[in-house]
Point group: C2
Chain length 355, copies 2
């Protein structure tokens, strides 16, 4: 049986080309039916061009409006009621699609998902989780990376629960190691927020490894790293900045002399390999965790391979029942705490704030 995935065909910077090609790749490789969301006539033309008589489970759902990358999320969400993002997320809410994928305006996608799908019971704030490349080859999940600034300790606690479940069910990491992003290993290091969050994370039934530092996002020390959305966004964009800087400097150095140019030519395959391992696109976008449904948000510069990976991640979410498992996890916490109303001095009592 095919799993239905809704895909925003107007998301990426070069939409709809990468979306349509990514959908084709996905339908060839995975048991999915892709619902392309966008202006029907236009999409039909481009799709027909690419399909070359191949019969793939791709259907088109009409949406008349596009939310641009530079549009203010709040305004766009309010005024564009027939945007491809909104139409796609409605398919998820109505059960017609098991997940939604977009490479469009991140703010608008998050706001629309919260509005159309709503938060899971017990989740105060959904969080955007980004898989980052690491030395070990396994990605490290960083969350939140921008959905929530000015968090409370119990928000970080909830992020830990959701991030751990994502790492387990989608990234297939057995017993994910969860760290708290801070500025020193000791429990006492950090700011008010991390010092307050530390004991809450420690009390959770997860493999909490304590505080980790910025450099550990890439060291392979942790599988999941939790932080507030401001700090996470700064860390994410800083690492993008370093990555770009390194590429620029290396390119410049390698074209300065003829010898270096020959060297660069001979090591071209190595550079491609290098680039691929640094490429965030291989990980298929960031899931918005904690909403009632699967919503995967990719980078605006997504190519067909990135869109394919976004669809793959949405498919893995649906197959792994990740959302349902997060929901049960929160219900479980609520129940455990309800059964022991006087558990105030108990380790587990800290999780009460998850309700």
């Amino acid at each position: 049986m095919l799993i239905d995935i809704a895909l925003d065909a107007l998301g990426s910077d070069k939409a709809p080309e990468p979306e349509i090609r990514g959908a084709i790749l996905a339908c060839r490789a995975l048991p999915v039916r892709v619902h392309l969301i966008g202006p029907e006539a236009e999409l039909r033309d481009v799709l027909d061009e690419h399909l070359e008589n191949e019969d793939l489970p791709i259907v088109i759902h009409h949406a008349s409006e596009r939310i641009g990358m530079e549009e203010k999320a709040a305004h766009a969400v309010r005024t564009k009621r027939d945007s491809s993002i909104r139409v796609g997320l409605r398919l998820v809410r109505e059960g017609k699609a098991a997940g939604f994928v977009t490479a469009g305006n991140t703010g608008a996608a998050m706001a629309t998902a919260k509005m159309v799908l709503g938060a899971l019971p017990g989740v105060d704030r959904p969080a955007l989780a980004t898989p980052m490349p690491s030395s070990t080859g396994n990605p490290c999940v960083l969350l939140d990376v921008g959905a929530n600034v000015d968090c409370k300790a119990h928000n970080l606690e909830q992020f830990a629960v959701m991030g751990e479940m994502y790492a387990r069910t989608v990234l297939k990491i057995n017993e994910p190691r969860v760290g708290l992003l801070s500025i020193g290993e000791e429990e006492t290091k950090g700011n008010d927020l991390t010092r307050e969050a530390y004991p809450l994370l420690k009390a959770l039934p997860i493999k909490f490894i304590g505080n980790v530092e910025g450099r550990d996002i890439f060291s392979g020390l942790a599988d999941v790293i939790v932080c507030d959305g401001f700090v996470g966004n700064v860390a994410l964009k800083t690492s993008e900045g370093v990555g770009r800087f390194v590429r620029d400097v290396l390119r410049e150095s390698l074209t300065r002399t003829v010898t270096a140019q020959v060297g660069a030519l001979l090591s071209r395959r190595a550079f491609n390999d290098f680039r691929q391992r640094l490429d965030y696109r291989e990980y298929g976008g960031a899931p918005l965790l904690g909403v009632r449904g699967v919503c995967i948000i990719g980078h605006g510069s997504s190519n067909d391979r990135a869109i394919f990976n976004g669809i793959r991640v949405a498919y893995e979410f649906a197959k792994g029942g990740t959302v349902e498992r997060i929901e049960r996890e929160f219900a479980g916490h609520a129940k455990r705490n309800a059964v022991r109303p006087d558990a105030g001095q108990d380790d587990k009592a800290d999780t009460a704030s998850i309700q």
Copy 2:
């Protein structure tokens, strides 16, 4: 006339070798007299070995204790009263040295500097400022990177004033562009702290360019970027982590096939150039701004070149009168505001908090 610089000879991971070699490099290149701080007999032996009958203005000041990298700063500062850090900073307080340089325990150096030198009048919290490499070749000063977590808006305002003065007098940047680290360009983007700090920075007599993002640390968009110490430390360590990750992955890719190895060999000079431009050590350590004196804190992994650059930066601080200029700047703010006690509705009034 020579400028006296005190150098912690027990600071770096491989001390005292890099310190002694760095001191020799500095004395050859700059009009400085270096005061090596550490166990006299031991330093004398190592120094004699390296000097080879050369007559350089290097003197030794005895200090019997070393604060290790892993020691808790608060405890070490309290108990080790004859540490090389404390003895060196005392020379600065007594006017026997124009600056102090250490590659030792950052926390201990900051705490000791605050205690021994004290803060400048009007400065609530000294800040650690790190020059970061950028695409344009000019460094970008990031502050605070760890001295202060949980800042208030007026702390960020003071960091902006101090960072701007450092960029102007030591890095010789004319009209430095100052940005506020946030998660979006618009004034309304960010967390409570940045939204509150924005109008304060805007009201300062500096070239404030508004909010900048993590990626702009390396893009060359700003010369000075201001943030609280928690966020700055995460950004700094994240970029160190990416840098290390990139090197590891590149090395691995380049040794995988013989062709790639030959390529790497041919482009060796390009790689060295690349490495050097990424190397934080070239910038000579991070000054602690806002204390009554010059205190430069380098990385524990400093080599002789890094120590040399640390001494060079301390020399530039002393020569440029940076500390005195920061002091005058704060006194000026205080005076401007005192003259207009009712300037509450005025733009400049925001700087009152600098007092």
